[in-house]
Structures are given as C-alpha cells and as structure tokens.
C-alpha cells in the first residue's frame, strides 16, 4: 500500500518535472528567437520607447561572437554609462552596439576621441580593410553619436597631471 503511494508520488513528480522542463525550454527558445529577430530586423524606431528609459543588458546572442545587444532589462550607472559596453547612453546607442561590436571591443570606441570627419574616416578604413559592412541610413546617426559623445578635447601640448592617488611614502 505504502509502496504504491510512493511510486505514485514519484511518477507525479517526474511528470511535473518534465512538464516544467518543456515549458522552460519553450520560453528559452522564444527568448532566443526574439533576440535573433531583433538582430536581423533591427530598426532604431523599435527602440524609441527607450528614449527616456536607460537600461542595459549584454545579450547572449551575437551574430559573430560578442555582439552587444540592447535589451530592456538592463542597467546604467549614475554617470549615464551603459554598464555592459561602457558607452554613453542615448537613443542611438543600440545602433552603435549592433554595428560596432561584432569585430571589436567597445573599449576601442570609449578610449578614442575624434571629430565627425575623423570618425567617418575610421569607419571608411574599417570598411576598406576590416570587412565592416555598408552602414546605409544608419551611418548618419552613428556619426552623430560618436562625434557628440566622443569628440576631441583641447588638451594643448601637455596637460596637467590628474587623478593623482596620494600616499605616504615611508622609507
């Protein structure tokens, strides 16, 4: 009697578990398909709802290897920096992530400074030698983003020393 009950319980929990697994699998597949869809059919206007909301996440899905994709479960730090990419947040950031992170790190963007013309020549160089695709109508907003947020600073021929970490030197 008792044995049967145990077996029944076991059967029941196995069934529940397998159902749960199927549901989880479907959810996962839907999430991935969604991410892939965004990757393929990306248009900036799809993301207009993000204009005032600033969030981030690094997606698992990249068409090459490490492409960062904007999603709505994301985080931005108090300086307005998108945490996953280290880039300044505005409505054009998703475009940058989609087009620029297939080949190189976002660190290559954030550590550089250039005018619009300078950024354009880098894009042309990447198209000529590094297999970057034609950016089409996205080129304008991309250039605007880069030349606004990563513009050269006028530093002269030598700057002051900054960010000095002072410490007592004991000999």
């Amino acid at each position: 009697m008792q044995k049967n009950t145990k077996e029944d319980r076991l059967k029941k929990s196995i069934t529940t578990l397998s159902r749960l697994l199927v549901i989880m699998f479907i959810l996962l597949a839907v999430a991935i398909a969604g991410a892939a869809y965004l990757g393929i059919f990306y248009k900036p206007e799809h993301f207009s709802f993000l204009d005032s909301k600033v969030e981030e996440q690094e997606s698992l899905q990249g068409e090459r290897n490490n492409v960062l994709v904007w999603s709505d479960t994301s985080s931005v730090n108090s300086d307005g920096i998108h945490v996953a990419s280290g880039l300044i947040v505005d409505d054009k950031l998703p475009l940058i992530l989609t087009n620029c992170t297939g080949c190189h790190s976002t660190k290559l963007i954030s550590q550089n400074r250039a005018t619009r013309e300078g950024w354009k020549s880098m894009i042309e160089w990447m198209q000529k030698t590094q297999k970057l695709w034609d950016l089409g109508e996205n080129e304008e907003p991309i250039l605007e983003y880069l030349s606004t947020h990563y513009a050269p600073k006028k530093t002269g021929r030598r700057t002051n020393l900054t960010d000095i970490e002072w410490y007592e030197l004991s000999e």
């Binding site: 989880m24 699998f25 996962l28 597949a29 991935i32 398909a33 892939a36 990757g39 393929i40 690094e58 997606s59 698992l60 899905q61 990249g62 068409e63 090459r64 290897n65 490490n66 297939g102 080949c103 190189h104 790190s105 660190k107 290559l108 550590q111 550089n112 400074r113 250039a114 005018t115 300078g118 880098m122 030698t129 590094q130 297999k131 695709w133 050269p152 006028k154 530093t155 002269g156 021929r157 030598r158 700057t159 020393l161 000095i164 970490e165 002072w166 410490y167 007592e168 030197l169 000999e171």
Partner: protein, 440 residues
C-alpha cells in the same frame, strides 16, 4: 614527455574563430549578406537547449566552442597571468599596458610585460607539428626548421632587449590619434634567448638582392576571416643581420608565454615592437621593402616631412618607423608620493634610445628651470634599457613634479612638450613626470 600544447582561457579560445566554431558546434550558418541570423532553424533550437546546460557542455567540449555570452567572467589577468595593476585597454583584441611604477624591475618579468595584439591570439599550438618556413623571392631555396632543429643547429644567445610599441604615449597627442590609447606602459625590457636570425638566414642561403625580412604569424583576424593576415611586418636586412636580432624561444629563461609569441618570435630591439613578430610560422625574404598588412598606408609610419597638428598626410608621404627615439621612465616612486619636510627622495628609472645608447640622464623638480644629473648605468648589452637613479632634495614644502629627461649618444634629448604630431600618434617620447608632495 613535456606538455607540448599551450592553452589559454575559454573566452580567448572561442573568440579565436567564431564563424568556424558556430558551424562546428551549432551547425549554425549565418546569412552571408548580413552575416546575421540562422540559416538553419534546427541550429537555433539546438543552441537554446545547450544554453540551458552550459556546465555539462563546457566539460564535454573544450577547445573554443563556447558561446561568448556564457564567458563574461573570463579574466585577462588570469588568462595571461598579469599583475593586477596592469591596465586593460582593449579586450578584442587583448591589449594591456603597465603603469610606470610596475616597471621598476631591471628586467621586466612576464606579469608586467605589456600585451599588444592586432588580432586573436592563436588558441592552441602543437609544437610537434610546428615548423618555421623560410621563403620569399630572395632565398636560394625554401627551407623549414622544427623548433628542435633551430635549437640544435645554431648557437644560442641571450640579450636584454627593449621593445616599445610604436604607439606608446599616443593618448597625449592633440588632435587625438585613433587606436589604443597607450599612456606610458607599452614598453618593457625582458631577457630573450634564441638563435641569431643572421645565422639562420646564412644557413638558408640568400640571393644578393635580399632587402627585407617579412614575418607571418599564427594570430587570426578579428573579422573571423581565416584567410586574412592580421599583421605582417619585419625589418630591413641591415637590422636583420645584427647580432642582437633574434629568433627567440625563451623569455626570461622560460618558454615564451603564449600571449607574447610562443613558440618562436622575432625580437628586433629598439624598433617599434610590431617589427618583432609573434607566433612565427614563416619568414619571407623579400627583394623589396616588405608589403604585408600594416607595412604600408598610415600604420607604423610617420610623415616623411614634419606636418602641422591635424594634417591629412597622403600615404606616399608617410615613412616607415625604424629606430625608436630616446626616452625614459620614472619607475620609483609611484606618482603621488608624499614625503616629510627635510626628507630626501630616492628616484629610479630606466632610459633607452632605440638603436643608440643613452648618454646622460637628468631630473628636474622645477618644470625644467634647472636640471640635475642622475647616475646612469651602462646597458647590459646593446639595445637593453639602462637603469638610472638619483637623490632629490626639495627647497620647501609643497607640490612638485619630477621630470626625467634622457639624452642619447647623438645629443638628442627628450622634449618636455609633445614631439611632432603625426596622424596615428606614434613616437611620443616627451619627458615622463610624476607628482610629489612635501608635507610639514
């Protein structure tokens, strides 16, 4: 039997050749036009399944086939055994520099040696299958050597050789130059052991028209296109034939770490480090200036004639960088030191001058108004950096900057301001300086 394979971490492995990895693991092929999406829907479903079982999968299938998304915790400091104070400039490809105070050792240890990559680090090198092939227009006949043959056939030499990235100091140029924004730490002087390139070339036999030695390495292109050469530079024959120009198989007495060029690399001290190819697979002896990727255009070249800041310089007016200029670093103390009134301060560093020797070393505590001579040691061998030190006293309490200035054997000094602007921001040899406070 020794372990013949060198391995690096999962992320670096996977990022090696993602296209191939995708094909092998997921049977995933992307749309050839957009390079996106999934051509086969089964692959998509499969990937979804596997992502839910990352541990099992990772255990069963090592070797560069892990979705990058699972590997965000991969740590270059662990991957390459680097000191925690090294500064990561770029993670694809890996580029990392030292800070001045990390470089205080007379001979730079591997954990403080800068990393400069143009492409992906080779993921796994099977030394039993490796050989160095030497060909090109100017060899009598093509020849190849296994590592053991190179070691057995030729005499070994050990030199301390200074290698500095051509773009070290780029971050200071104005207008800014594109590329990794190196500050001061893309320089090092390790002890390299290998055979002389000259001895090997003599054994191969060269024609009279030999002009340049170009290298090819095993690193792979960031685009994932395995047919694309990442970088193929080299040196002209006069540099190739110098005693100190090595095909090196050891760094500081050990096999060269993978990220620094295992199993064999060229070391041409005093020249932009990009001339010293890593992960060699072949050398091409050319009857003209080598024309591999990053030999021409704007890469590792500067205007043949000086130009105003921000100028556009056509490729044909750019000249290849050869010897690096005179330069020095203050490696002790670390910037920001506070000392007490009346205390003197010991200051130490290194100085180097490309093909030349450093003749004099000076320091200033008053922004160049007066200079005091430092004690400078002779180099261990030609092309090794030289160590210097001095003791400084301060006339009153307050904020000081210590500026260091080296002078080479041809009387050229480091400038206090940025040297001549150039489009890619090379050759910044302006004086290094640190901040010091004297407190009551």
């Amino acid at each position: 039997m020794a372990n013949h394979k060198k391995k690096i971490g999962l992320r670096a492995l996977y990022s090696e050749d993602p296209v191939q990895a995708d094909k092998i693991v997921w049977d995933r092929e992307v749309d050839p036009g957009s390079r996106r999406g999934f051509l086969k829907k089964t692959a998509l479903a499969y990937m979804g399944t596997i992502l839910g079982a990352e541990i099992v999968f990772a255990d069963k299938m090592p070797g560069g086939i892990i979705p990058a998304g699972l590997l965000q915790t991969d740590d270059p400091y662990k991957l390459f055994s680097k000191h925690k104070d090294m500064v990561l400039l770029n993670d694809r490809p890996w580029n990392m520099e030292a800070q001045a105070h990390l470089l205080n050792d007379a001979v730079t240890p591997a954990d403080k040696y800068f990393i400069r990559n143009n492409g992906y680090v080779p993921k796994e090198i099977d030394i039993t299958k490796w050989s160095l092939k030497i060909g090109g227009e100017s060899v009598v006949s093509l020849k190849s050597f296994t590592l053991q043959e190179l070691k057995d056939k030729f005499d070994h030499y050990t030199y301390q050789l200074t290698l500095e990235c051509g773009g070290n100091g780029r971050s200071e140029f104005n207008p800014p130059a594109k590329g990794n924004q190196w500050t001061v730490g893309a320089v090092a002087c390790a002890e390299w052991t290998g055979v002389r390139l000259r001895d090997v070339l003599e054994d191969v036999g060269l024609k009279n028209d030999a002009e340049y030695v170009g290298y090819y390495g095993m690193d792979t292109h960031l685009s994932g296109d395995l047919s694309k050469v990442v970088i193929s530079r080299g040196v002209p024959m006069n540099k190739a034939l110098q005693d100190e120009t090595l095909l090196a198989f050891q760094m500081n007495g050990d096999d060269i770490p993978l990220v620094h060029g295992y199993p064999l690399r060229l070391v041409a001290g005093g020249w932009p480090a990009s001339a010293s190819g890593k992960w060699l697979k072949s050398l091409s002896i050319r009857n003209k200036v080598h024309d591999g990727p990053k030999m021409g255009g704007q890469s590792y070249r500067v205007p043949c004639e000086p130009v105003p800041p921000g100028a556009k310089v056509p490729d044909e007016n750019m000249c290849i960088i050869e010897s690096m200029p005179v330069k020095s670093l203050i490696t002790y103390p670390r910037s920001g030191a506070m000392i007490r009134e009346g205390q003197s301060l010991k200051v130490q560093g290194h100085a180097w001058a490309g093909e030349l020797e450093v003749k004099d070393m000076h320091c200033s505590i008053d922004f160049g108004a007066t200079w005091q001579k430092c004690e400078l040691k002779a180099p261990r061998n030609r092309l090794a950096w030289q160590h210097w030190e001095t003791e400084l006293n301060f006339p009153q309490n307050g904020y000081y900057e210590i500026w260091a200035r080296a002078t080479d054997s041809q009387e050229k000094m480091q400038p206090m301001l940025l040297p001549g602007w150039n489009p890619r921001g090379y050759l910044n040899n302006a004086c290094h300086r640190i901040a010091v406070k004297v407190n009551p």
